[in-house]
């Protein structure tokens, strides 16, 4: 083994220097006179990706296929699930609760995504200035993001409660009547969306800040000579150069926010009525409370379609802008 190594090392060094990179690759090829060892060498990269492919195949790719198959079936988890054709999909069209859930989910997303992306950009631009205590501000802003949603929601239950909650204490200080923040059908989604913004904005701030710090300072110096500073530099240098990062973040935010589950599940259980029920909560309920896996699978595939369509729309819409 050792002599083989030395040999290889010698043949490698013995090549003329002018041969460059190929000189370094050749010894490995020369060393494969036997077909078997050649196959072994060819197979080696597959060995490196095999563990990932195994996990991916069993716990992601296979379940996706199974979900599609499930959506054509109906019946109990423990019993036999019968093939029912497209009836699950047909049912979606007449299901008013499904429509409510789509609307609720989109309402969350429409409030949250622009606020976290816009807010993240502004905060990152401020943090990117030569300021003191930057480390403190960064940790402060990211804290709501790294907090487990359940823990974060526990705080907000407490702050938003009807009697004694901080929000209503503030109202009563100004002589106003208390508000049922989570008990009113019109307020519940905006309130949960606000909590989601509070949780999310720090994440996008950190991502944008990292992007901004990679923009060459010379650009700002050159612009400053032309008198372009501050807000104008932000619009004319930072935003255009950050466009790929903004696009990426918006797609991520879309994928992420359309799957909102944790906070409404713990805060309101979807109530009052169904006014804060989201698509994922509906999937959860159909599958595990009403024991209808097939219908739940059909809803989940509709959610996938929704995410895919929105992501593709964003990618094409933004990309047109990027080309200049």
């Amino acid at each position: 083994m050792r002599s083989e190594r030395e040999q290889r090392a010698q043949t490698g060094r013995g090549r003329p220097v002018t041969d460059g990179a190929t000189a370094l690759e050749r010894p490995a090829q020369q060393r494969a006179p036997l077909l078997l060892s050649r196959i072994g060498r060819r197979a080696r990269p597959y060995g490196l990706i095999l563990p990932k492919l195994a996990f991916f195949g069993v716990f992601l790719a296979f379940p996706i296929g199974w979900a599609i198959e499930l959506s054509f079936r109906s019946g109990s988890i423990l019993g036999k699930m019968q093939y029912v054709g497209v009836s699950n999909y047909r049912r979606l069209f007449s299901d008013s609760l499904f429509r409510i859930c789509v609307e609720n989910t989109l309402e969350y997303a429409v409030i949250v995504i622009p606020l976290v992306i816009g807010g993240g950009l502004v905060l990152a631009a401020l943090l990117n200035r030569p300021i003191r205590f930057r480390a403190f501000f960064r940790v402060a802003l990211i804290l709501p993001t790294v907090t487990p949603t359940v823990a974060a929601v526990i705080i907000w239950i407490y702050l938003l409660q009807g009697q004694g909650g901080i929000f209503n204490e503030i109202l009563s200080f100004f002589g106003l009547a208390p508000v049922l923040w989570l008990g009113s059908p019109h307020l519940v989604i905006p309130m949960i969306a606000m909590i989601e913004c509070w949780r999310g904005v720090g994440f996008y701030t950190i991502v944008f800040l990292a992007g901004m710090q990679s923009i060459p300072r010379e650009l700002y110096q050159a612009a400053a000579i032309d008198g372009i500073t501050g807000v104008r530099a932000f619009w004319r240098i930072t935003v255009p150069l950050l466009r790929p990062v903004i696009l990426f973040s918006t797609v991520v935010a879309t994928i992420f926010n359309l799957q909102i589950f944790d906070s409404p599940y713990v805060l309101t259980q979807g109530g009052p009525g169904f006014s804060s029920t989201t698509l994922v909560m509906y999937i959860y309920d159909e599958a595990f409370s009403y024991d209808d896996m097939g219908y739940a699978a059909a809803i989940s595939l509709m959610l996938m379609l929704l995410i895919l369509v929105l992501a593709v729309v964003q990618l094409t819409f933004f990309r047109k802008d990027v080309e200049f």
Binding site: R44, L48, F59, L123, P148, A151, I154, Y158, D262, L301
Partner: protein
Amino acid sequence: MAAVPGDAGRRPPTSIRTHGRSVTAGTYVALSLAAVLALAPFFFLMVTAFTHTYVEQVAIGKLAHPTLANFRDIFSQTPFAHWLFNSFVVATATTVLVLFVDSLAGYAFAKKKFAGRDVIFFMLLSTQMIPIPVTILPLFLLATRMGLIDSYYALILPAVAVPIGVFMMRQFIKTIPSELEEAARIDGLGDLAIYWRIILPLCVPALALLGFFTFFLSWTSLLWPLLVATSDHTRTVPPGLATLVGQYITNYGQISAGAVLSILPMVVVFVLLGRQLARGLVSRTVKG
């Protein structure tokens, strides 16, 4: 550079150091306001956790006599210690597995040439847009049939299938000069040795970012543990805390103590890894 009115008392910023952007008081005011909004809820959480209170009112006045009673009670009156232990085991195991499996695959995708490489890579990545709920239903059936319900395996294994880490590691490893690898090969190192001794040590920022991300996702996960962690033997902190909300009369002091304890590890990890995370993130956004 024109001096900003009202800036006279301060040292004028040199135009090179600040590259034409002056830091005004407005920047600090805006950032402080944002920090206050971000942190205020935690302040009230701490007040509740450290004052003995069953009443549903924030009692700031009681802060003069802080108590650890809530922390004592949550360990003695609920299975919180179990949940905490389970969360640590699951998040740590998931993170170690993901880091190993993803960096290994990322190395192959970044540095190796093999038939079908780009097809396989695209296949992995294309599933990134597929929402978790799509796979959760079949995964539940799979876990049931494999007898994994109420076991750590059910909590750990599906999380290792997520493909984003392979993408992150590949992007980072691509930036490592191939000369290093070739030199090591001349010295007789095999693929695995190169991976272990050359690639991994150079990947620390990317590993830190991916590790933090994976640990965070596992630590905060609610939906999947709700389904498969059916007893306190495997139940993690988030579903555990969720069972305390609205059970009997909500004991805010006790739940707040639990919430504080569930936040603490993430804060510690973030502060410890802060610098590495920033580096991993920069290389990712620039080169990604």
